[in-house]
Every structure is written in C-alpha cells, then in structure tokens.
C-alpha cells in the first residue's frame, strides 16, 4: 500500500522534482492510452460480429432472396448445394426456437419471480445467505451438462410417466431443463428490483392493514415491475440464444411439429453445420451466417428492451 518514495539526499529538491515530473507525466499518458485501448476492444468485438455476420449473410442473400428466406415453409438447406433446389424458410428453425423458449419461460418466469419474492421479502438473513448462492449454482452448470441431463434423464422420465409417445429427441424436455437453467437469471435481476423498492411503501401497506402477501403482490411487485419485466426479457433472450441443450436433446430435424417431436432450433442448426466439414464459400457455409444474423438481431432487440427497463427502475428510486 505504501507509496514509493525513493529520494537521493545528495541531489537538490528542484532537480529531482523536474526529472521525476516529466517521467511521471509520460507514464500517465501512456497508461491512459493503454487503458483506453482495453475499453475499445469491446467496441471492436461488436464491429467484428456485425461485420462477419453481415458480410457472409449478404453473400447468402445474393443467392437466396430475403423474401424466400422469410416466406418459404421448408428448411432443406442440407440437401443440395444448388440454392434453387433447396428451401430456406427460417420460420422452420424459428418455430423450434420459439417453442423451446416458450416452454423454458413457462418454467423460469414464475419460478424465478417466486424465488425473488421469497428471497427478498420472506427468507431470513441466514437462510438467504445459503439459498441465494445455491440458486446461482444453477446458472454455473455448463449447458452441455444440462443437455446430457435432458437427454438421458428428463426425456426417459417423461416417457415413463406423462408422455409415452415422446421422441428420444424432443424440444419439450430441452425447454424444461433450459427453464431451470434460466431461473437464477430471472430471480437475481427481479430481486435487485424488488430490493430497490423503498421501505416506506411496504410500511404504508401494513399501516392500512394489508397482510404480508398483499404487500408483496399488490405493492412491492407493481412498484418493481419494470425491473421484473427486464428480468423476464433477459430470460427470454437467454433462452433464444441457448445452444447446447437443444443441440443435444432437441434433435436435428428441421420441421414444424409438436414439442414432443424432434426439432432443430436456429442455434442447433449452426452447431450441426459447423460441427461437420463445411468448406468456406459454399451456400451451406453462408446459411449459418444468415441464421446467425437473425439470431443476433433477435437477442439484440431483447437485450436493448431489458436495458431500457433496468435503467427505468434505477431512475425511479
């Protein structure tokens, strides 16, 4: 912690000061430039992502019109190298993404919000200190592990109990497990928002004779609603971009079907194509960037909405 103070007693004070000052001044500027560069790397990353996605996707759309991409109802990109012989309806992959996201959200949004309310309003300090990190562990488990779990445990259990006709690969089990993975994301952002609600609002509720549940659901949650919405949107964004769970347990069949059947999401398609040997320059290689661009734009919009909501509740309190 000590500041270095090396002084040569034989030199006069003014000499020392001037020389030191110039060296220090130079070092100050050099460090500043270096740190600025560090911060700008992140901007460079975004530029890189946008550049790569747009460049390759532009080549794809040069051969397959965006109208075809948006309106065709089959995805048969793997069947032919000739763009006129195959269909590129992104809606097929987007359907699987939408279904898995919806299932994940049906699990994660209520459970995450419930956990946030319990942790912030009900749990004792001691219990909270254990529960919160334990819940965070769910977000730290690698997605490949969840994928394995969905494939080898959840699907067989579902098959033995409620859904005898469920496929070995299916979007339903993948979505359920994905939902469990997203619980901590929803819970921690919601909890931050609930925590920021001023104590006075709660006490006002109690003074009017409200019970604890009434204060939590009718005063605290509405007051924290923009942060809670942000947590929901972040959860949705996480589900849309999730890759390994759906790639392992969801199947690799591009089709519009029921969640009990195998389907390929946008992310799983990218994994499948890049996992095989697909030479650069082929139409196949270009499709993954067109799909990636769609995915990037979807998550970008969701993230910006969440960012806006988070800022809003920060401004209010």
């Amino acid at each position: 912690m000590a500041v270095e103070t090396k002084q040569d007693p034989t030199k006069s004070g003014s000499d020392l000061w001037k020389r030191e000052s110039r060296a220090r001044h130079f070092r100050e500027r050099a460090v500043r430039v270096l740190l600025t560069v560090c911060a700008y790397i992140s901007v460079l990353t975004t530029f890189g992502i946008v550049f790569v996605l747009f460049e390759e996707a532009a080549r794809f759309f040069g051969e397959v019109s965006p109208v075809r991409f948006l309106t065709e109802t089959q995805w048969t990109a793997g069947f032919s190298d000739d763009p006129s012989q195959a269909e590129y309806g992104i809606v097929v992959l987007a359907w699987a993404t939408l279904l898995s996201t919806a299932i994940a959200c049906a699990v994660a949004l209520p459970l995450g919000l419930g956990a946030a309310i319990y942790l912030s309003e009900y749990a004792s300090t001691g219990l909270r200190r254990w529960l919160k990190p334990a819940l965070e562990v769910l977000a730290g488990v690698p997605t490949i592990v969840y994928g394995f779990f969905a494939l080898t445990f959840v699907t067989p259990v579902l098959q033995a109990t409620f859904f005898p006709n469920i496929g070995i690969f299916n979007i339903f089990a993948a979505g359920l497990v994905m939902g469990v993975m997203i619980i901590p994301t929803v819970a921690s952002v919601s909890e931050d928002a609930i925590y920021a609600v001023p104590r006075g609002l709660r006490e006002g509720g109690y003074a009017l004779g409200a019970t604890k549940r009434e204060v939590a659901t009718k005063i605290v949650v509405p007051a924290a609603i923009s942060g809670i919405v942000a947590s929901f949107v972040l959860g949705i964004s996480r589900a849309v971009g999730e890759t390994m769970i759906v790639a392992v347990a969801g199947g690799l069949t591009p089709q519009i079907a029921s969640p009990l059947q195998p389907m390929q999401t946008m992310t799983a398609y990218i994994v499948q194509v890049t996992g095989g040997e697909t030479p650069r320059g082929t139409i196949q290689y270009e499709t993954i960037f067109a799909v990636g661009l769609s995915l990037f734009l979807m998550t970008l919009v969701l993230n910006m909405i969440a960012y806006w909501f988070v800022r809003r509740y920060r401004e209010v309190y």
């Binding site: 912690m1 500041v3 220090r24 070092r27 100050e28 500043r32 740190l35 560090c38 911060a39 700008y40 790397i41 992140s42 901007v43 990353t45 890189g48 992502i49 790569v52 209520p110 459970l111 419930g114 956990a115 319990y118 009900y122 529960l131 990190p133 334990a134 730290g140 488990v141 690698p142 997605t143 490949i144 592990v145 394995f148 494939l151 080898t152 445990f153 469990v180 619980i183 019970t211 604890k212 939590a216 659901t217 964004s237 996480r238 971009g241 890759t243 790639a247 392992v248 992310t267 990218i270 994994v271 890049t274 993954i288 960037f289 995915l295 990037f296 998550t299 970008l300 993230n303 969440a306």
Partner: protein
C-alpha cells in the same frame, strides 16, 4: 394516484364483526398458501440440481478411473481417455487468463477512473452490457470468420482461446467495475493530497483494494469459459485426439467438446464415459468456484 379531490369519499357501512373475521381468516390462509408456493418455487431448482448431480454421479463414477483420466482419444469407448481434452482445456484456460483478465481489468479501470460522461463512453457502456447478452454461438461465428479465416490462425487452440477471451470479457469488466466503484473516494483523495498522480493512486491504492472483487469475478468468468462448448464447435473442434495437444497451433479439443462428441455417439458405453467426463468437468468447476468464494470471504473479513 386517482384524483381524490374530485371524488366524494363515502364512509362504508360498518361491517359486522362476523364479516371482518371471515375476511382476515381467508386472507391469512391465502398468505400461508402463498408463502408455501413461493418457497417451493425457490427450492424446486435446487431439487432439480440435486437430482442432476446424483444422476450424473451414478452414471459417471463407475467409468471414472486412472486409465480414463490419462488415456488418449479413441473411436472405441473402452479405450477412450480424457487426457488430450484435459490438456486442451488447460491451454485454453491459460490463453484466456493471459488475454481476458488484463484486458477486462484495464477496460474496467478506464471506464470507472478515466472516462468522462460523454456519448462515446456511454456507447461503450451500452455496448458492453449488450455484448454480455450475445449468445455464445454468435461469438463462435465471429471466431470462424475473423480468427480462423481473415487473420489466418486456423482451427487452432489460439483461435479458440481468443474467442473464449472475447466471450467472457464483458463479465470480467462488469464485475471489476463494481469492485472499483466500491473503493471509497477518500482513499483517492488521500493519495492525491500526498502528491500522487492519477495512475499512482490507481496502481497503489485503488487496484489493491478492488483486486479481490475483480479476481472473484474473473474466476467465475473463467469457469464459464471452461464449460463453454458452442463457440468452440463453431470454430471447428475435432471429434477426438489420439495425441496430446502441444502448442497454440494444435487442433481444438476441450473437456466439454469431448463430452458433446461422446453424447452424440450411440451406445451406452459412450453415455457412461460422457457422464464420467461430466464428473471431471464439474469437479474442476467446483474447485474454481470454491476458490472464488474463499477469495470473497477473505476480502470481506479484511474490510
């Protein structure tokens, strides 16, 4: 808030004692039910986590032995080992530590200590929070387009390590910024009063105080990098390796990728070694997280 001034507030007919009692009775029952529901909501995830861990241990532990840990890759489940992916993960980790941790801490210090509140720095901030939400597979496409082809690093450990570095950079920046912000201003002012320059103040006072928090965040980010699969597959990882990777130019192999490739194979033997691989991966992550918690506790005790 309604315009109470324009409304005529009529006092309600006083309820009978019976009415009042029933109302509070139901409300309190509802309260109990609500408490039970949100408690279940909180622990249900933990129950699933417990089931997951037990199930994986049950499947994986029988296949886990010394031969598995030190064996090389093979197309045969019986002979397949985890040594090349273990070494590959370690090499990726070294690259990420060397690249992402200094860059992340540097960027965080710039944003907290140097950056003025102008539109450019606000853009950087929004950009970082947005990058934290970009799906990892998109980073894989960035790596494929830029590192593998444009810069010509090929499908190598170097490309993989760099893309994982970019992936966790936002996480490190966000964690470090929080701990730099937590350093009280009086510390900086004290240093300035003694004639220290801005960098001297940061180097000798702000950074040492913020370091434990920054390191905790970095370790958590690194454990995310260890578990990442999708971006490495996107760059082009090999199904299995019959030799140990030797340098930055080696083919990409890592524990999660090896698990993915085993899971993709038909047959119970492959599922068993996949589970064994998961046990190893989880053990590594557990150790990393325990380290992070230890650091945090040490830090909290000192303050």
């Amino acid at each position: 808030m309604s315009q109470s001034g324009t409304e005529v507030v009529r006092p309600r007919e006083p309820g009978t004692e019976k009415d009042f009692k029933t109302s509070t009775g139901t409300r309190h029952v509802l309260d109990k039910i609500f408490t039970a529901i949100i408690f279940v909501a909180t622990v249900i995830g933990l129950v699933v986590l417990a089931v997951l861990l037990i199930d994986i241990a049950r499947r994986g532990l029988p296949a886990l032995n010394w031969g598995f840990l030190t064996g090389l890759g093979s197309a045969d489940a019986e002979d397949a080992g985890l040594l090349p992916p273990l070494v590959g993960s370690l090499m990726l980790l070294v690259i990420v530590v060397v690249v992402a941790v200094p860059l992340g801490i540097g960027a965080a210090v710039y944003l907290e200590e140097y950056a003025s509140d102008n539109w450019l720095n606000r853009i950087i901030e929004i950009n970082i929070s947005n990058l934290a939400g970009v799906p990892s597979i998109i980073y894989g496409l960035l790596g494929l387009g830029v590192f593998v082809y444009v810069l010509g690093f090929g499908k190598s450990i170097l490309s993989g390590g760099l893309i994982l570095s970019l992936l966790i950079l936002p996480v490190i920046i966000i964690a470090t910024r929080e701990s730099v912000r937590a350093v009280p201003n009086s510390v900086r002012e004290g240093a300035y009063a003694l004639g220290a320059t801005q960098w001297e103040t940061i180097r000798h006072h702000v950074l040492p105080m913020a370091l434990p928090g920054a390191l905790t965040g970095s370790i958590l980010a690194l454990s995310r990098a260890i578990g990442e699969t999708a971006p490495l597959i996107a760059i082009g990882a090999v199904p299995y390796m019959t030799f140990v990777p030797t340098g930055l130019g080696s083919d990409i192999t890592a524990i999660p990728i090896q698990i993915y490739n085993w899971v993709s194979q038909p047959g119970d033997e492959f599922q068993a070694i996949a589970a064994a691989g998961i046990v190893v991966l989880m053990a590594v992550l557990l150790a990393a997280n325990a380290g992070a918690i230890w650091l945090r506790n040490r830090f909290q005790r000192r303050n």
